[in-house]
Amino acid sequence: MTVVTWTPRKSRLSKMIDTPGGVSVGVALAQARAHLAVLEPRSLERVAALIATLKSLVPPSAPIEIASRLEAAYQAASGVIDAAGPFERHDLCAAATSLCDVIDAIPPDTLLDWRIVQVHARAMELMLALPREATAERGKVLEGLAEVRAIKVQSAG
């Protein structure tokens, strides 16, 4: 028999949210965006460094290296999403997510065609260098990555 316990609970947060004072949503968002804007140059530097890390990763030369090398690539791609996310760099995030999806989809200890990592790294590098208004070019790059992702994720089951 499964025992279910049910505990009604009000958090202290729920009590304080409607207390007098505070800030409006509009002001809060403006302040948050201003705080984040200060960090944008560092975000771009960090993204560039993570792309460089991805590009420098060499394919595993022995089965024992597969897991750690893939984890390093996954962490670098995931770091790009972390750093670029709050600045509406959906292009970089989509490319990084595509690589995370591919790595996540392959069975453990399976060797990944390393060109996929390199293609994603170069795509991110290109998108970082393109002017903001080059949306068509970004779209094409992302379309290409989406095809790679679809094939690899599907074939991995």
């Binding site: 499964t2 025992v3 279910v4 316990t5 049910w6 505990t7 009604p8 609970r9 009000k10 958090s11 202290r12 947060l13 729920s14 304080m16 949210i17 409607d18 207390t19 007098p20 004072g21 505070g22 800030v23 409006s24 949503v25 509009g26 809060a28 968002l29 403006a30 302040q31 948050a32 965006r33 201003a34 705080h35 984040l36 200060v38 960090l39 560092r42 975000s43 960090r46 996954y74 791609a77 995931s78 770091g79 999403i81 972390d82 750093a83 670029a84 996310g85 709050p86 509406e88 760099r89 959906h90 995030c93 990084a96 997510t97 995370c100 999806d101 996540d104 989809a105």
Partner: protein, 193 residues
């Protein structure tokens, strides 16, 4: 401003200035991004931790009102930390609202994301708007805590059950009804003019 995915009104006021907040992320830069966004909302981050273990030591000693934790950390993950917290018997911390943040959720972690007991999982990229919506949502989260088998955390059912007979007593619903009524009145008087 209570439903999942519901947009916040610019003029809505909230006050979380006195919330004791903890942010946990192994990446210093991601930690700073989250902290700065929260500070913009008027929420001071009292505890900024780089690992689950560091956070656990604090949670054993001090009360915390809001926890924002990265899901994918080396060593103990955010999922494991939330599961530990919910089963820790630390009162009030075991019941504290928890927002899990994830750049990418691995397939093997999907079950953990659902079962660890967090109030909400925010997948990155996050914008300031998304984060604020989720913070306000967890602050207003009235779901009871359920213990079922291995699970302890907020009721995972988001769908409303049958409304009980009698007058509405839920303050968020009352506020929303008042807002809708005021909006309708305003709209009809504008039409008349």
């Amino acid at each position: 401003m209570t439903g999942v995915g519901e947009t916040l009104r610019d003029s809505a006021i909230f006050n979380l200035g006195s919330a004791v907040t903890m942010v946990i992320d192994d990446s210093s830069f991601a930690l700073e991004l989250t902290t700065q966004a929260l500070m913009g909302f008027g929420i001071k981050v009292k505890y900024a931790c780089h690992s689950a273990v560091e956070a656990m030591d604090i949670l054993k000693e001090s009360d915390v009102d809001l926890i924002v934790v990265d899901a994918d950390m080396p060593g103990m993950t955010g999922f494991d930390m939330v599961r530990w917290l919910r089963r820790s018997d630390l009162d009030p911390n075991a019941y504290a609202p928890v927002i899990l943040m994830a750049a990418h959720v691995r397939r093997k972690h999907l079950d953990q994301a659902r079962d660890c007991g967090a109030n909400f999982l925010v997948t990155k990229p996050f914008s300031a708007t998304t984060l604020l919506e989720r913070v306000v949502w967890v602050a207003r989260d009235q779901r009871p805590f359920l213990g079922v088998g291995d699970y302890f955390g907020p009721d995972r059912r988001f769908r409303d059950g049958e409304r009980r007979d009698g007058q509405e007593r839920r303050s968020d619903r009352i506020r929303r009804a008042e807002f809708e009524a005021a909006k309708a009145t305003q709209s009809s008087s504008d039409d008349a003019a």
